[in-house]
């Protein structure tokens, strides 16, 4: 069952090849003008009606056009609508439910957020129409980002109940994805409850990002319900879910532990104190529901790890944060290479 979590550093596929069929021709030209290094840094493409199209790497623009409006592609409202419909596969009826969550998943795990006029039904947002802007977020999985964490969250290869926390945008989801992949590579049966389709980025039920060979994904399912369902149906060795925060989530985590499945979950919190103060995670911490706590910093950097009794297992020697604190979780991953393996 146990196997050292080895992996091959995968070459990131060029997003331009995957998304080429979806991009309008002027945008295709803009993307084609990027150098390979710039293309590898791209985090999102933004299109707004009557505004210049932007290709961004974090907060930096990487498209090769000047800041003036001249000489750049300024899509019309109709261009944006057509692009949005292309992203929806000209089958909006099929994607409306997904779109209600704010975005649609594309091949390769890339995601498109669409803005426009929201149509209400019974006072709730039902669907969006008359699209006026598109944000195309480039998925950049970081295979191996959990390498440094794995020795901390396993005991002689056995997975432990773990809570990964950080401020938003530090890469908790990316970390969970890689934890799933590495556990699956080690021969464990992994179950992912992916309420917001962010961990596995399923498209038509198929994970677009690498979550490992023995991983089952329950896509777009509420966490608590999904965890119980996953336990009942797939009996996973490890259950992974993102951003816990409801009382039902806590109950489901307890149920999973009783069933013998290790739980690896994430939560938003900037510090252990903040985690303790939050209603649900606070209860889980007091109940000692977890055997490991892992704190991530900007860029997905492993900052600190605790055991179940809050004894510090690991602390990064340098707490300085990278200067680019933009949403870089998907691109500038770094983990401490000097992680003391015997610290667990």
């Amino acid at each position: 069952m146990r196997r050292t979590a080895q992996y091959d550093k995968q070459t990131q596929p060029d997003w331009r090849a995957t998304l080429d069929a979806f991009l309008p021709s002027p945008l295709r030209v803009m993307a084609g003008m990027l150098s390979a290094a710039d293309a590898a840094r791209v985090t999102e493409i933004r299109l707004r009606a009557e505004q210049p199209a932007l290709i961004m790497a974090g907060r930096e623009r990487v498209d090769r056009f000047d800041h003036m409006r001249s000489g750049r592609w300024i899509p019309s409202g109709e261009d944006v609508k057509q692009f949005a419909q292309t992203l929806l596969g000209h089958s909006m009826y099929a994607r409306a439910e997904e779109l209600r969550g704010g975005y649609v998943t594309l091949p390769g795990g890339h995601r498109a957020g669409l803005c426009g006029r929201v149509v209400l039904e019974d006072g709730k947002a039902h669907h969006i129409q008359d699209f006026s802007s598109v944000a195309l977020r480039i998925a950049r999985p970081v295979p191996g980002c959990a390498d440094a964490v794995m020795p901390l969250i396993t005991d002689d290869g056995k997975p432990l109940n773990t809570l990964v926390f950080s401020a938003p945008g530090c890469g908790k989801t990316t970390m969970l994805r890689d934890v799933a992949r590495l556990h699956a590579l080690s021969g464990f049966q992994v179950g992912i409850v992916d309420e917001r389709s962010e961990i596995a980025a399923c498209r038509h039920g198929v994970p677009q990002l690498d979550v490992g060979p023995s991983t089952d994904v329950l896509d777009a399912c509420p966490k608590a319900e999904g965890m119980i369902l996953m336990l009942r149906v797939f009996s996973p060795d490890i259950l992974i879910t993102d951003e816990i925060g409801k009382s039902m989530d806590a109950e489901a985590i307890g149920e999973a532990s009783r069933c013998g499945a290790a739980v690896v979950v994430s939560a938003h919190a900037g510090s252990m104190e903040e985690l303790m103060q939050r209603p649900i995670t606070g209860v889980l911490l007091r109940q000692r529901s977890f055997e490991r706590y892992v704190q991530l910093g900007p860029g997905g950097r492993l900052l600190k790890a605790w055991n179940g009794t809050f004894g510090v297992l690991f602390q990064a020697s340098d707490h300085s944060v990278p200067s680019d604190s933009s949403d870089s979780s998907e691109q500038s991953y770094s983990s401490d290479p000097e992680l003391p393996r015997d610290s667990v």
Partner: protein, 174 residues
Amino acid sequence: MNMTRLAFAGAACAGCAMMGIRMANRLVRREEAIAAWSRLLDALAAQLSYVDDPLPDVLMRSVSADSPGDARLAAVITDAANAMRRDRSLSFAGAMDISRAFIDMDASDAASLLPLIRELGAAARPQQCARLDSARAAMTAMASRAADKTSRQKRLYISLGLLGGLALFMCLMG
């Protein structure tokens, strides 16, 4: 000389009769085309009310070749669905050869279907189903008018063609 005149008059008579038959046949083909569109819209409405598949797949499943009209429409729809699969930027309206799709129909028939064709796949499910329902209702009314017109005018066109041909024949021979 008489033989030439006879042949010319015969050809003119046959031409007139053919024209009448062709006009009657156009009515039949229009009726078939409307019925085929009507059946396609029924199938689409049934599929789109519960299926989450991409539009090209739904279109491919909705066509049939049960009648000549269905087969002609199926060829156009299948080509459009394949074009949409090849080029993701194409909408249904962009992928479809409109002139082929409405070749047997009147301009007014085409005009009543074009808004639906332009919006197919571009609306959320309830709106999509509502538009389909309204198009189906329009098609039902159109089909009944077409059937009525065919039953009234089919024989008339054939008779007029034959009589006109006969009259022309007699004039030319006389």
